[in-house]
Point group: C2
Chain length 353, copies 2
């Protein structure tokens, strides 16, 4: 655990832009989350606002209000917003400066780096606070090329992919790790985004801020290192975007460079268009064709997880039955019913090895 | 034209490591190539060594020997080697220093940047020479996210992809541009590698040294800009690697973000394993499955180009007939017979629009 942290969402907590903060509310082993700074929800619990169950994390109207009301100074303030473009928003600066003046270190997953913003740098220096840019790329000397040593990783390698962005791939992977552990299966997750790192991921890399030439090698290195140090039975790779997402297709790396043995595919029930591209008419293709595509990369899809946010329970159950019937593989509703059907599928895979 | 240039290959000209120099011998509109520095071929012509036809480019044993024998000082010295890892090799430094001392600017496509090597930086400053690192990433503010404005590009968009690395995708694309122009079709190429830039490409980006998050947007931006400025009938996108290449899969960006209307697929006859991975037993899958995979990304493959380097003419002709029969699309042998069958296929596409 690195220390205590407040998460800054600036009025956006209940929007998709605050996805990073949602991951932190769901759990982090890197930071002890002690509050969310969002003026729109003061008096409520972040877990209740997010998914109807208490997380023991209160809201505060401002950083100053946190300091005044609790009499505590957290170690970190994490920017919990991931805006399109990844630019720092100057509207945040007054609040961020309040944090720095109190000696609170800032953590950001933006593409624009705090360490390149002179007014933040000088305040941080003055008050002994750190500026941690999670997406800052590694030095070239620390980057790895793919070397085929993934062949020396005998764990069952499962890519948790999705048919679109923002469908719950990371959360599904987290549920799977927990369910595996409960079932006596040693499991690890390979994170591939900044939220995974913020949540305390030990093995992984931030894919979207890695030079393209090193993506496969960094993935392989994380998986190899994970195996060397923890020897898990199963390794879940957190997927990113979707194989056919027009704004940034992703996923073949997990299949051919990470040598995934199996895919668990997360799909958003009721979503017709790729997230954010409704106005361009770009439809998410049928689920069965995604399974076919993954198969052409040489990997079987062994289970489906449905994100049911947009549909009622009856529709979720109808889709579950329809997909099971159509694809002949188990289909889980992770949030409502857990991931047990997928664990059974994994156990079958493990027995066959 | 930026100026005259010598190309440094240091004994490796006739190996695949000098792929960059081969592209430059085949033609560059950015540099006038006046010599190759390679001690192994002095007295020969680079075009003859490369592909049996004169290019009017002589070899020299060293940079000093070029200066002594010609009495000329070229404007640039381009490192024509692309070694695995992209690291500068200190063995080259004495020669590179000779160049800098003569006021010759250096051009490098390495992942390690000359501008971060103090001994080269100080010599360059002293002698008024430039250090041009082609792979140096753009400033974040100059990078683009994908925005769907590719929808405003009505040109026929053709991705020239391959079933492996180093099969001649860029060269095939170059042949296609030339053949289109000869047939009265306005064509442009979108480069995606450093050699494309070195050859004088006006529209494109260096894919492998772009942060993953910006690959789709930079591609779209290059295509959009190309259309705005030149309004071509056809745009050929230079492919990279291969969709299922384990060391770094690539290509879906061209299909779903570049919105390719069609693919021309280059395949290396006689090559069984992915280049460089023979020892790991990773076979290139059958050509028909690559066509199927591309189809699942929503794009038809309208022609095949065979790289015949490893097979004799009879085998090349046998494969050409077999692929035509199997896939029902034209198959060209670009080096032996040109790309005319592919131009016919393009004309059909253009008529259908």
């Amino acid at each position: 655990m690195d220390g205590t942290a407040i998460v800054y969402t600036h009025g956006l907590f209940d929007t998709n832009a605050a996805k990073t903060s949602h991951g932190l509310v769901r759990g982090s082993s890197r930071y002890n989350i002690v509050g969310i700074i969002d003026e729109n929800h003061v008096g409520k619990d972040a877990g209740v606002v997010l998914e109807g169950k208490s997380a023991g994390i209160p809201f505060f109207a401002s950083i100053q209000s946190y300091l005044d009301k609790t009499g505590q100074t957290p170690d970190y303030c994490i920017i919990g917003i991931a805006n399109a473009g990844g630019k720092m928003n100057p509207d945040w600066y007054p609040d961020l400066k309040t944090a720095l003046k109190a000696g609170i270190s800032l953590v950001s997953g933006m593409h624009e780096f705090m360490s390149e913003i002179p007014e933040l740098v000088s305040l941080a220096e003055q008050h002994g606070a750190q500026l941690i840019d999670v997406r800052k790329p590694k030095d070239r000397d620390d980057l790895h090329f793919w070397s085929a040593r993934i062949d020396e990783v005998p764990s069952l390698k499962v890519a948790v992919m999705g048919t679109d962005c923002a469908v719950g791939k990371r959360t599904t992977a987290k549920f799977l790790v927990e369910a595996c552990e409960a079932a006596g299966i040693k499991a690890q997750m390979i994170y591939t985004g900044q939220t995974g790192w913020l949540q305390g991921g030990q093995y992984g890399f931030v894919l979207d801020s890695t030079f393209n030439d090193f993506v496969s090698g960094e993935l392989e290195h994380a998986m190899y290192q994970c195996y060397q140090e923890t020897k898990p039975d199963v390794m879940f790779i957190e997927g990113q975007a979707a194989l056919r997402n027009p704004s940034g297709p992703c996923g073949s790396e997990f299949l051919v460079s990470g040598m995934a043995d199996a895919v668990i595919l997360v799909t958003p029930a009721g979503r017709v268009y790729y997230k954010g591209w409704d106005h361009t008419g770009r439809k998410i293709p049928p689920l069965s064709t995604e399974v076919e595509l993954i198969k052409l990369y040489g990997v079987p899809t062994i289970g489906i997880a449905i994100n049911t946010k947009l549909v009622d329970h009856a529709e979720a159950k109808r889709l579950q039955a329809a997909y099971e019937d159509d694809l002949g593989i188990p289909v889980a509703l992770p949030v409502e019913e857990g991931v047990e059907p997928l664990i059974t599928a994994l156990q079958t895979q493990l027995k066959q090895r």
